[in-house]
């Protein structure tokens, strides 16, 4: 499921453009209909970010992936918006930061 993109080196590219690279750690939770789709590979090709899977569990019911994204802030934000539009639940590594 997880492939780092071959064509981009986001951190270097971002630095060259003057944009600040950043690292973002996320938990992705996929509904069953998306489990067979190579979403992380697609993400790595659509956006100038590098992807690094740190933990994953896939069953018939749900796909759970802990993912590190490296790249320019705007690219990471766009990648998250794309994932959410697909129906992937995107949480920070802390999961629920807002408590009652």
């Amino acid at each position: 499921m997880a492939h780092a993109p071959k064509k981009t080196k986001p951190a270097a590219k971002a630095a060259k453009n003057g944009a600040r690279p950043q690292q973002t750690r996320l938990w992705l939770m996929y509904p069953p209909k998306l489990i067979t789709r190579p979403i992380i590979w697609e993400l790595g090709h659509k956006f100038a970010v590098s992807t690094n899977v740190r933990q994953a569990s896939v069953t018939d019911e749900i796909g759970i992936v802990c993912l590190e994204l490296d790249g320019e802030r705007e690219q990471i934000k766009a990648a998250i918006a794309w994932l959410e539009k697909l129906g992937v639940n995107v949480e920070p590594v802390e999961i629920n930061v807002i408590e009652s």
């Binding site: 019911e61 920070p92 802390e94 930061v97």
Partner: protein, 420 residues
């Protein structure tokens, strides 16, 4: 790696067991698993006995060796040791032999169990040299951070969704906290708060201080055991938002058994959620060891976490202790609030209504046997969620300042004349 601080040994990843220094950090660099405080139980055993505990002031700090600070507490000296009420009238109503209410509606100073976790997080934050503390919250946590920080002379930032009710905002603003409302969808606000926590060098109580913060919940379990006469209850019903409190109640019973403070016994720690936000309950009932995220839709706002961080661990605890989860509708939770108020004189917030409602279901269905003993963890005060019961209580009758009118009212309403 190990440099003992107080009775703490290290921070330890709950997934892979890797150890980290006792700093303000919360995630394993290897697998991003949550970090938890590891203690030196051999040393604790020499210092923490029933007799030692009983001599100490009646606050949560009487179990200090099992709380994650290196020195003496500096924030929240008065927190904890809330009443454990023997609820005979409610027990009879629910059809159970023995029922106890652990009443954190009167926890000091902000009337919820959050004062336990916050006083630990802030005491530890001070030890680590922080001057600014922060949290992201929709209610009880914000109030507690604001109040405890004010009392300790710490500067505080409280992040809230911008559409939060005015009353809840004032409950933080009054303490002089810097309250920042963030516009946007819940998920966006949640991610931004995580980003802010990572970028600014503050003690974010439920982010980088989380390993310490979460341990404060154990004090509720320690108190239950002591107040029951040094025994673990057969059944404990705990409300679940992130699921953290349930795991820490379990940990508190385990630690007392491990230290020989109470004998080994079988106990069950059941979880309670509102049906409108029940990812953990749904998973437990389906026999799954993972939950599916949901979009919350319930009046129990203090439990409305659709992706609970400790959901996986809460499910594990319920499995290990032979416990179950259950959920109740908004109407059922309102009934729970009223039952607790009308039978025990305790006014709980919506989470308390959930806990009572779930206990009622578990008893009625025999999942908690009628001959057993139960403790309900009631975590917050009803004055904080008045909106939830407006229009669902009795009504005040109005009369002119006339004795004749009052007598006419009494005669007209059978319920009133029966009370004479």
């Amino acid at each position: 790696m190990e440099k003992h601080e107080g009775f703490m040994k290290a921070l330890k990843c709950r997934e892979c067991g890797r150890e980290y220094p006792l700093a303000a950090t919360h995630v394993c660099e290897f697998d991003f698993g949550p970090l938890e405080v590891a203690y030196d139980y051999d040393r604790i055993k020499k210092s923490l006995t029933r007799a030692a505990i009983e001599k100490r002031p009646q606050t949560m700090w009487r179990y200090r060796e099992l709380l994650p600070i290196a020195g003496e507490p500096t924030v929240g000296f008065q927190v904890g040791f809330t009443p454990l009420v023997k609820a005979d009238r409610l027990a009879k109503r629910l059809g159970i032999r023995e029922l106890w209410i652990k009443n954190d509606t009167v926890n000091y100073p902000t009337l919820s169990f959050k004062d336990r976790v916050v006083s630990v997080a802030l005491s530890r934050a001070r030890e680590l040299g922080f001057k600014v503390v922060a949290c992201a919250s929709t209610g009880n946590l914000a109030n507690s951070v604001a109040a405890n920080a004010a009392a300790a002379g710490l500067k505080s930032f409280v992040f809230i969704p911008s559409d939060l009710e005015q009353g809840k905002v004032i409950n933080s603003l009054v303490y002089g906290a810097n309250v920042i409302g963030i516009k946007g969808h819940y998920d966006e606000v949640n991610r931004l708060c995580a980003e802010i926590a990572g970028k600014f060098g503050w003690a974010f109580v439920n982010v980088n201080m989380r390993p310490y913060y979460a341990e404060g919940s154990k004090s509720m379990g320690f108190e239950i055991v002591e107040q029951l006469g040094w025994r673990a209850p057969q059944h404990t019903v705990v409300p679940m938002a992130s699921g953290s409190l349930l795991t820490k109640i379990h940990k508190s019973y385990q630690e007392f058994m491990k230290l020989g403070i109470i004998p080994e016994s079988r106990y069950h720690v059941h979880g309670a959620q509102a049906t409108g936000c029940s990812p953990i309950s749904v998973a437990q009932k389906a026999g799954l060891d993972f939950f599916k995220p949901v979009k919350p839709n319930t009046i129990a706002k203090s439990l409305a976490i659709g992706t609970p961080a400790d959901g996986f661990y809460a499910l594990k605890v319920m499995k290990e202790t032979g416990a179950v989860a259950e959920d109740v509708s908004d109407d059922e939770l309102r009934e729970g609030i009223k039952l607790l108020a009308e039978y025990e004189g305790i006014f709980a917030e919506t989470a308390g209504g959930v806990t009572v409602g779930v206990a009622k279901k578990l008893i009625a269905s025999g999942r908690i046997p009628a001959d057993d003993s139960v403790v309900l963890c009631i975590t917050g005060n009803g004055l904080k969620t008045l909106d939830a019961v407006v229009g669902h209580t009795g009504r005040a009758r109005e009369i002119k300042p006339s004795l004749r009118e009052f007598e006419a009212l009494i005669n007209a309403e059978g319920e009133l004349s029966a009370a004479i």
